[in-house]
Symmetry: C2
């Protein structure tokens, strides 16, 4: 199961990177992802892929498979700390910040986690979209595809995971949502590993069939300096969320993950 999940995350990474490079090519850009491997002292490692292109101002796609023991500090911060601190985790994580303010930013992440040498195992992940301005067309298309994805697996998933996403990607100190949401799930273990894995795969495939189309729909739209400014300020909120609130960022930094990979999510240029 570990190998199957890990191979899938890599395969998905390859497909996404190829599609994003294709979008660059369609705009006469030769931008390519740069790959960089890293190893974790305690065990495992990962591979970062970073592209700074014409359409994708900055996009990072990371895969990693790590194992070890949760630190005391991390266990204290967990909502439901496991009795056995040993863990194994594998996943893919992606954030794209776009040159054109009319193309929404996006985040996608899926992961499989095991604690206590197999005593507990679950999947988690999701994807959420952050348009810089009201963009009902992109929002509706994104939500529609995620709804269909969820409904292929379980009729209760969509409402539950959409709500979870709205609650999670929220900045309490600003009383603002990060974007227009999407889905977020965690601790998914229905006692049917194949089904949970199939859902996790479908989230990745749905992302791959949805976000590139949103990019293609909007990449030709003209923008002015004022819209660029608004984009840079909106990105400030993204930074605030990731550094103040995001569990994945904390998980990574507190479990000795690779700082460069974890903070690859930060936007290329920001204003406050």
């Amino acid at each position: 199961m570990k190998n199957t999940a890990q191979n899938w995350f890599r395969e998905l990474r390859d497909a996404i990177c190829a599609e994003f490079e294709k979008i660059e090519q369609e705009s006469s850009s030769a931008a390519k992802f740069e790959r960089k491997k890293w190893e974790r002292a305690e065990g495992g490692g990962g591979e970062m892929s970073l592209m700074r292109g014409k359409i994708f101002e900055k996009v990072g796609v990371n895969i990693s498979t790590v194992h070890g023991e949760f630190s005391e500090k991390f266990l204290r911060e967990m909502e439901n700390p496991p009795e056995d601190a040993r863990f194994w985790a594998s996943g893919i994580s992606l954030v794209a910040h776009m040159s054109n303010p009319h193309v929404p930013a996006v985040h996608m992440n899926t992961r499989m986690i095991i604690t206590g040498e197999g005593k507990k195992q679950w999947f988690g992940g999701g994807t959420d979209l952050t348009p810089m301005f009201d963009d009902l067309e992109s929002a509706d298309f994104f939500h529609k595809n995620l709804r269909e994805c969820c409904e292929r697996h379980n009729s209760t998933y969509y409402d539950k995971y959409k709500k979870w996403c709205d609650e999670y990607f929220f900045l309490p100190h600003r009383n603002e949502p990060r974007g227009i949401g999407g889905i977020f799930y965690d601790y998914l273990n229905s006692n049917d590993w194949d089904a949970d894995f199939a859902f996790t795969q479908d989230v990745g495939r749905t992302f791959l069939n949805t976000y590139p189309q949103i990019v293609r729909n909007n990449r030709e739209r003209k923008w002015n300096d004022k819209e660029r400014e608004q984009q840079l300020y909106k990105r400030g909120r993204y930074v605030e969320f990731n550094l103040l609130h995001d569990r994945g960022t904390k998980f990574g930094l507190l479990t000795g993950g690779n700082t460069e990979a974890i903070l690859m999510s930060l936007p290329p240029e920001v204003k406050w």
Copy 2:
């Protein structure tokens, strides 16, 4: 004592803002601080002063006096939580991000805190300098003046507070210091309120006699695009420190402080 401290922080704010505006005028800039009052639902409030000038790309000087009860969540995160959660706090906090990459950024903050209706009382604060490149002249001048300030009050302060500053303003996830340090002190209560207050005042006055001179020494230096880029990336570390690690930021956001005032410390423009 509350009134005396509170009045001092306001007086220091006025003196600093006047001096920074004078620096702008010396460069034919008419930039002025904009003042904005805010009130805190639970009790107290503050005043923000923000200037976006020619020399000071963005500088915020905040004073606030707040009171109430520490939340459960905040108490759990404190190193030495007080038995009685009631608190009163007054202080001044300043961060300056400069247009010229050859002028270091700076932070200064001093505060008086009371918990449990007077059962415990202490002062805290400090100042630290963040040059964008090696700048031994500014660093030496800054350290020298702080050393002399400390030595006017207690022969043990400088070494202790310089070390505390180096330890505090450190980014473990980058294994990098934030800048070249300065002094940092907290929980200062020598059983002589007058002496502790006099030291806290001297830290403010020393800042006022030191940083403006560093600005004047460096403001005419030429810079190129590459140096500006380095400044924008260096500022990213400032953001990471403030949002991931800074206790003042967490204290403010978790005690219902004013978000706009707390995050005024974030740089005007940043790159990652």
